[in-house]
């Protein structure tokens, strides 16, 4: 509502400023001889819209608040997907590199683990932008959780909710199951397997396949690479096997 009022006031200034002042003058217009015209126009047009004078400055905050509120809503797929897709040309044009994140595991391995393996003997510093990208992901997700958080639980489909309950997961309030992914649960068999073995397979599998969801599924499919399509079929072979057969056993 506030946004609508502010937007109409803004449009009034852009397209019908003088008229707004005139209409406003006929009503309860405060004398604003010292204030700049622009502000006077905004405030009088706000009067016209039934907003008491004095709200004009606050309306700027209202716009900011509405913007924050808008960003804080969970984003639908048709907003998020295309922006993720834009990572492809942005990487190519701005960085002259292909989009991919799992390489960061390799760079960190080459940088931190002393070894004598051919696969890790390369100039990882030339790819350090990839690690800076990771720092950005950490920062962006921190900001999202800190300033743009929404309290609503993830809007899972009803079928997914009942399946979660069947799997014995009761707490669906967070982004990840709090009863499985927490430091104090590392003593549990399920948590240990899912994080330790799961993390290991992600690192091993992405290097063996030569990419992950970003490098193969998004970047690779974007330029019609057959190996990427084969890799995505692999992702789903493993994912379906885990989700349908192995995970219910692990969570038992």
């Amino acid at each position: 509502m506030e946004l609508v009022v502010a937007a109409r006031a803004f449009l009034g200034v852009c397209f019908g400023g003088s008229n707004a002042v005139f209409v406003g003058t006929q009503r309860r217009v405060p004398t604003l001889t010292n204030s700049p015209l622009r502000e006077r126009e905004i405030s009088t047009s706000m009067c016209d819209l039934g907003v008491p004078y004095g709200e004009s400055r606050r309306s700027t905050f209202a716009i900011m608040n509405s913007l924050v509120e808008w960003i804080s809503q969970p984003w639908p797929w048709y907003v998020a997907g295309p922006i993720i897709g834009l990572m492809v040309p942005l990487h190519l044009i701005l960085l002259n590199r292909t989009f991919g994140i799992s390489s960061s595991f390799r760079h960190m391995c080459a940088a931190c683990v002393p070894n004598n393996l051919d696969f890790l003997k390369y100039d990882w510093k030339a790819e350090s932008w990839n690690l800076v990208f990771v720092v950005g992901v950490l920062l962006g997700s921190f900001l999202a959780a800190q300033y743009f958080a929404s309290d609503a639980p993830i809007a899972l489909s009803e079928a997914a909710v009942s399946r979660m309950h069947d799997l014995g997961i009761q707490d669906l309030s967070g982004q990840h199951p709090a009863e499985l992914f927490a430091w104090n649960r590392l003593g549990d068999f399920q948590t240990l397997v899912m994080i330790v073995l799961g993390g290991f397979l992600v690192g091993f599998g992405t290097r063996y396949a030569g990419g992950c969801t970003s490098g193969h599924a998004i970047m690779g499919l974007s330029h019609f690479q057959l190996p990427s399509l084969v890799a995505v079929l692999g992702f789903f072979t493993g994912g379906l096997l885990m989700s349908w057969i192995l995970l219910p056993l692990i969570l038992q």
């Binding site: 044009i93 960085l95 970003s214 096997l241």
Partner: protein
């Protein structure tokens, strides 16, 4: 300059991963159970936008910021490793509920136990590096 750009792109990507719930274990399970269109919509529309961009970049011979015409190298035609490695990654993806990007985003947004998953991922790379010659590619 490159680092500044990478930082900005990364920040935007991290924000999206959280706000579109891509980093959620629940969403990944829902995807593998074919119980929602959400994740398919995201990946599908991302590929559509990516493919259109690549097409335009190639058609108009767009130059990168560095000034050279952008050329995309083909991925190495190793299908066994793509499938087998992909399958191993898929197992890990469905277990942790996160591929590498979301792993970082989970850490940033407070599920810090995923640091352990990243450390294990790095050890996974080390294991691959050690076994590479013995694996079918």
């Amino acid at each position: 300059m490159k680092n500044v750009i990478a930082l900005i792109l990364g920040t935007a990507f991290g924000l999206i991963l959280v706000k579109a719930e891509v980093l959620s274990w629940f969403r990944i399970q829902e995807m593998f159970a074919f119980q929602s269109f959400h994740m398919y919509g995201i990946i599908g529309s991302a590929v559509a936008v990516g493919a259109l961009s690549v097409f335009l970049i190639r058609t108009f011979k767009v130059k990168s910021l560095e000034g050279n015409v952008i050329e995309l190298a083909d991925k190495a035609p190793r299908y066994k490793s793509a499938y087998l490695g992909g399958t191993l990654f898929g197992l890990g993806w469905a277990m942790t509920g996160a591929c590498p990007g979301p792993m970082y985003a989970l850490i940033g947004s407070g599920t810090t136990v995923m640091i352990l998953a990243v450390v294990m991922g790095i050890l996974g790379v080390l294991a691959y590096a050690a076994l590479r010659d013995k694996l079918p590619h």
